[in-house]
């Protein structure tokens, strides 16, 4: 049994979302952990990249009062009557600007929490999990990036008979994932590309380890859903469809596949974090129709696939 003991263990959490319906079966509580080794161009949770808290601005709420500018000693804000510019390179994440903001437009995304603090929230919906077959889902960011913290959360959930799921890129040493097998009831692993050069172009890292780890998860007969971001102009290309099909068919028993249709809801987050979206702004959201040829081809090969 794997144990991570330290009473001082804490993790960086950027959201705990109760009543999550799309991150595993039933009614779930999804714990979003900060920090991710992949930097996918289309990422809709860019606040999950950095492992530390970040200032985020909701421009629609900003009243342009300028109090944040006055409160910040590091020149993080320039506020005019119709503009609010962020310059967060020197930001020390003190949160004073957010405290000073009367409109609630600024917030510090991400906070340090103990496993017990997280479980205290997760535990609240126990009766809903029991009624619906739900539980806790670790997501991110990348939960493996805060490995000890994730392990501790999973152990505690397991001890309280709360079902667990993990949304992960499955990147990293197999041994670390293997150690999680007894603690996770369902893995949801992304495949963003099967060609490692393309994968590196799109996400910043190669995909060999990821694919190898998926293969091992399948061999260990672990309940697994493969999630394929379906992003036109990025990974929607014949080469990937063919590679994906080959990879799936090379597995003993191909797990069910969910095509995650690209949506544009995350685009504004970049600016609100003081950055710029790496994703071109003119790419439209993908539709079920767009994904139909992929679904048809994979289905013909006997693979269980759906789009969401």
């Amino acid at each position: 049994m794997l144990t991570v003991s330290t009473e001082t263990l804490t993790g960086w959490v950027f959201n705990i979302q109760r009543f999550s319906l799309h991150d595993g079966p039933g009614i779930r509580t999804t714990v979003f952990l900060k920090g991710c080794p992949l930097h996918c161009i289309w990422c809709h949770n860019p606040e999950g990249w950095n492992s530390r808290p970040q200032i985020r601005l909701a421009t629609t709420l900003c009243a342009h009062c300028g109090r944040c500018e006055a409160a910040c000693e590091h020149g993080g804000h320039t506020v005019t009557a119709d503009q609010h510019e962020l310059h967060l390179d020197d930001c020390i994440r003190c949160g004073r600007c957010a405290d000073a903001c009367p409109a609630g437009a600024l917030e510090l995304v991400g906070g340090s929490m103990s496993p017990e603090e997280v479980l205290a929230v997760v535990r609240r919906d126990l009766p809903f999990y029991d009624q619906s077959g739900g539980g806790m889902t670790l997501s991110g960011g990348e939960p493996l990036a805060q490995y000890d913290f994730s392990v501790r959360l999973l152990e505690m959930a397991r001890a309280e008979e709360i079902r667990t799921a993990m949304e992960t890129t499955a990147i990293g040493e197999w041994g670390r994932i293997e150690a999680l097998l007894p603690l996770v009831d369902l893995f949801m692993v992304d495949i963003k590309h099967t060609d490692t050069t393309r994968h590196k172009q799109l996400t910043g890292v190669p995909c060999d380890t990821i694919l190898a780890n998926i293969r091992r998860l399948v061999e260990r007969r672990k309940p697994l859903i493969l999630r394929v971001p379906f992003v036109p102009g990025m990974n929607v290309e014949p080469q990937f469809l063919a590679g994906l099909q080959d990879f799936l068919l090379s597995l003993d028993e191909p797990p069910p596949v969910e095509l995650m249709l690209y949506h544009r809801l995350g685009l504004g987050k970049w600016e609100s974090l003081g950055g710029e979206s790496p994703m071109p702004l003119d790419i439209p959201a993908a539709t079920k129709d767009d994904a139909a040829p992929w679904i048809e081809q994979l289905t013909t090969q006997g693979i269980q696939v759906r789009a969401q």
Partner: protein, 723 residues
């Protein structure tokens, strides 16, 4: 021309056509001719008993009202109580002046908001009920010419009038059959049905629905509003079953009939409650095939009017809940879901017989009522947030400077504030209930004049006791509901002051009052601190406990008083949009609410303050002591339709409902977030801070999204809703 189908079902007009025809009829008839007919009848009966005069007045309306038929409609009848396109306005004014002193009861004195005993109507038929009245008359002691005889005679008169009304519709259907070859078979059948109903009990489902609906319209023509159909799936089921067994009808035919019923109910801009599911009076599961069909019919018609309530309990079958979710997903807001496992014991605790308690239904929107055994409901509104405001200001109204409550000292501790709030609330309730009791007493003093003959016929045990429904005839007397408005706002306000003043010492009470008086002008940061204090609806025990304690004090204080007629004062956590006007009566409050903004609605959290999702709302609302507010309760939840789509979405919503009820929730109703709501949220983000956009692996509060992304969500919503 080819003869139409041999069977009268399911050859029928489209539901939409039935609805449109009803609406067109209403648009073309705006003159309240009924007043002239009634005045004429009252004049002709001067000197007779008031009961008889009232019965005759209604009969004059039933005898003269137009009988418009849309060929192909499966149910005939029209409850619109304005009868002509125009008329003599001078004559109308004379009639209204003449009628003014003869006015019957109104909502406040228990005129309507009742569910008549339609099961008795179907079981005995018109003639059976007439015979009951005759038997009761015959049983009176020889030579008794007092109130009981006069009352029973008025019932006989009312039934005779209703029979005439049935006959007029039979004639109208016969004439329409001759004029409309396309539906002549249906109309001929309908004419025969109506003739038969004059002298025999109903045999078929169509006859049963027809009889109930015409009686329902007769009450509407008597100027009664919010009359409920009660437990339609229960009293209609034997007829459905018999029709199915004999092959007279199939499921599609029964569904069509129910759809036409809902299309008919949608004509009037009136709330007509229909209750399905729940327990039988013996305590078994009452859900049947018709319960599901009625929900499906409500979904198909998708128009307000038939106010559908689904009663559920631990043993409610999933297929019924799935039908409910299908209907909820359309965004109609129906059905409202009620928890039998809570409501039935709450009624038993108030002295209702278990068999009656299990047979409860709703009248109006959500008011609990025993169908066919109880006098009509009345209710009024009470502003809970104002009690907190008075507690901060020693009984002086912050809006007007008038003294509204007793002097209470400036609170120095949390306990002071709590006690002062209770003092102000009890004082307010004393005044409020005294005002209600006065009104009730003056109606009780004229009880033998203010009778409701036709409604008494269908209320046990008016015939047996020889007494009017509001004069001791009904098994259960009328209750008066007091809607406690703004429980969420009041709890949030108390909690914010406890948190920021007494726990953290950030401000003094004087600071708070200054902020409120300036409507937070220049106190933006301070207001944010108050907004950040725990808010009801986020599964926070401290503030939820505050709401629960206030609701308990409110509910039990009311339950301790009795009405002049023997009924009870019942608290409700409901508002029926009056929370908006009540909000205008209270200046800014320490929960961060600005002056004049609406109070929290019913038992729901304040707008936009529930930021922790539906399970947290469910846990919070389940903490209120609904047993002490047995009158009725409402919790509004909203979902983006995509959040509850598909089997998984349906399962999740059902699990949410079941768990909320297991935890002690009383009621849930659901709105879907539509494009309009999103536009409002873009304009007014603060009151919509709870709107969450949920997509796999992604979530964000709608109001925090960039404008372009908000537009994108809006477009997706419109696409999804086909709008």
């Amino acid at each position: 021309m080819r003869s139409p189908a041999k069977h009268s079902l399911p050859n029928h007009a489209p539901t939409e056509a039935v609805w449109r025809a009803g609406l067109a009829y209403q648009d073309a008839h705006s003159f309240p001719m009924g007043a002239i007919w009634r005045a004429h009848a009252f004049r002709a009966t001067e000197g007779q008993s008031m009961g008889l005069r009232r019965a005759n007045a209604l009969n004059a309306v039933l005898g003269n009202a137009p009988t418009p038929i849309t060929p192909g409609e499966l149910i005939l009848g029209n409850g619109h109580s304005r009868f002509t396109a125009d008329g003599d306005h001078d004559e109308l004014m004379r009639a209204q002046n003449y009628l003014a002193p003869l006015a019957g009861r109104h909502f406040g004195t228990h005129a309507d908001h009742a569910a008549p005993g339609y099961s008795a109507l179907l079981e005995h038929g018109v003639t059976g009920l007439e015979a009951e009245v005759r038997t009761a008359l015959a049983g009176l002691p020889f030579g008794e010419h007092g109130d009981r005889r006069l009352f029973l005679e008025s019932l006989a008169c009312a039934m005779a009038g209703f029979k005439t009304y049935l006959g007029r519709w039979a004639t109208a259907a016969g004439s329409a059959a001759a004029e409309c070859p396309e539906y002549s078979v249906l109309l001929t059948d309908q004419a025969a049905d109506l003739q038969e109903l004059r002298s025999a009990r109903p045999r078929t489902l169509r006859q049963a629905v027809q009889l109930v609906f015409l009686m329902h319209t007769a009450y509407q023509m008597d100027d009664r509003y919010a009359m409920a159909l009660g437990r339609a799936d229960q009293y209609l089921y034997p007829f459905y079953q018999a029709d199915i067994e004999t092959g007279r009808i199939d499921e599609a035919g029964a569904l069509a009939l129910m759809e036409h019923l809902f299309a008919k109910l949608a004509h009037r801009g009136d709330i007509q409650n229909v209750c399905v599911g729940g327990l039988t009076s013996e305590g078994d599961d009452a859900t049947n095939d018709l319960s599901v069909l009625i929900v499906d019919a409500c979904r198909a018609v998708a128009r307000p009017g038939g106010n559908l309530t689904a009663r559920i309990h631990k043993g409610t079958p999933k297929r019924f809940l799935e039908a409910c979710v299908r209907c909820i997903r359309t965004g109609s807001g129906f059905p409202a879901i009620y928890n039998d496992d809570l409501q039935v014991p709450a009624l038993i605790a108030r002295g209702y017989a278990p068999s009656h308690a299990r047979d409860y239904c709703f009248v109006g929107c959500i008011e609990a009522h025993i169908p066919g055994a109880q006098a009509p409901w009345a209710d009024s509104r009470f502003n809970l947030l104002r009690c907190v405001d008075l507690a901060l200001r020693g009984g002086i109204d912050g809006m007007t400077g008038d003294r509204l409550g007793p002097y209470t000292a400036v609170p120095a501790t949390w306990d002071d504030l709590w006690q002062a709030t209770l003092v102000q609330m009890r004082h307010g309730l004393d005044q409020h209930t005294a005002w209600v009791a006065d009104m009730e007493q003056s109606a009780a003093d004229q009880a033998t004049d203010l009778t409701s003959p036709l409604l008494s016929v269908l209320t046990a045990d008016c015939i047996g006791r020889g007494r009017d429904i509001n004069d001791g005839g009904a098994i259960y007397p009328a209750n008066h509901g007091v809607a406690g408005m703004g429980i969420g706002s009041a709890a949030d306000t108390l909690s914010a002051i406890r948190h920021c003043v007494f726990d953290k010492g950030m401000f003094t009470i004087a600071d708070i009052v200054r902020m409120l008086d300036s409507n937070f002008e220049g106190y933006g940061v301070e207001r944010k601190a108050l907004l950040a204090a725990p808010k009801y609806g986020n599964d926070d025990e401290s503030v939820d406990g505050c709401a629960a304690a206030l609701a308990a004090e409110f509910g039990s204080y009311l339950l301790a008083r009795e009405l002049p007629g023997g009924g009870q004062f019942w608290g409700l956590m409901a508002a029926n949009v009056q929370n908006v006007s009540a909000g205008r009566e209270v200046g800014a409050s320490a929960d961060g609410r600005l002056s004049g903004e609406p109070l929290s609605d019913a038992a729901s959290p304040s707008f936009g303050r529930d930021r922790s999702g539906p399970t947290a709302v469910a846990r919070s609302v389940a903490r209120l002591p609904y047993r002490l507010a047995p009158g009725g309760n409402v919790v509004n939840m909203k979902f983006h339709p995509t959040a509850i789509e598909g089997q998984a979405g349906s399962d999740a919503l059902i699990a949410l409902i079941r768990t909320c009820f297991e935890l002690g929730g009383a009621q849930l109703q659901f709105n879907t977030v539509g494009a309009e709501m999103l536009r409002t949220a873009m304009a007014d983000p603060e009151r919509h801070g709870d709107l969450v956009v949920r997509v796999s692996g992604f979530s964000a509060y709608f109001t925090r999204l960039e404008r372009a992304v908000q537009e994108d969500v809006l477009a997706r919503t419109e696409h999804y809703l086909g709008g």
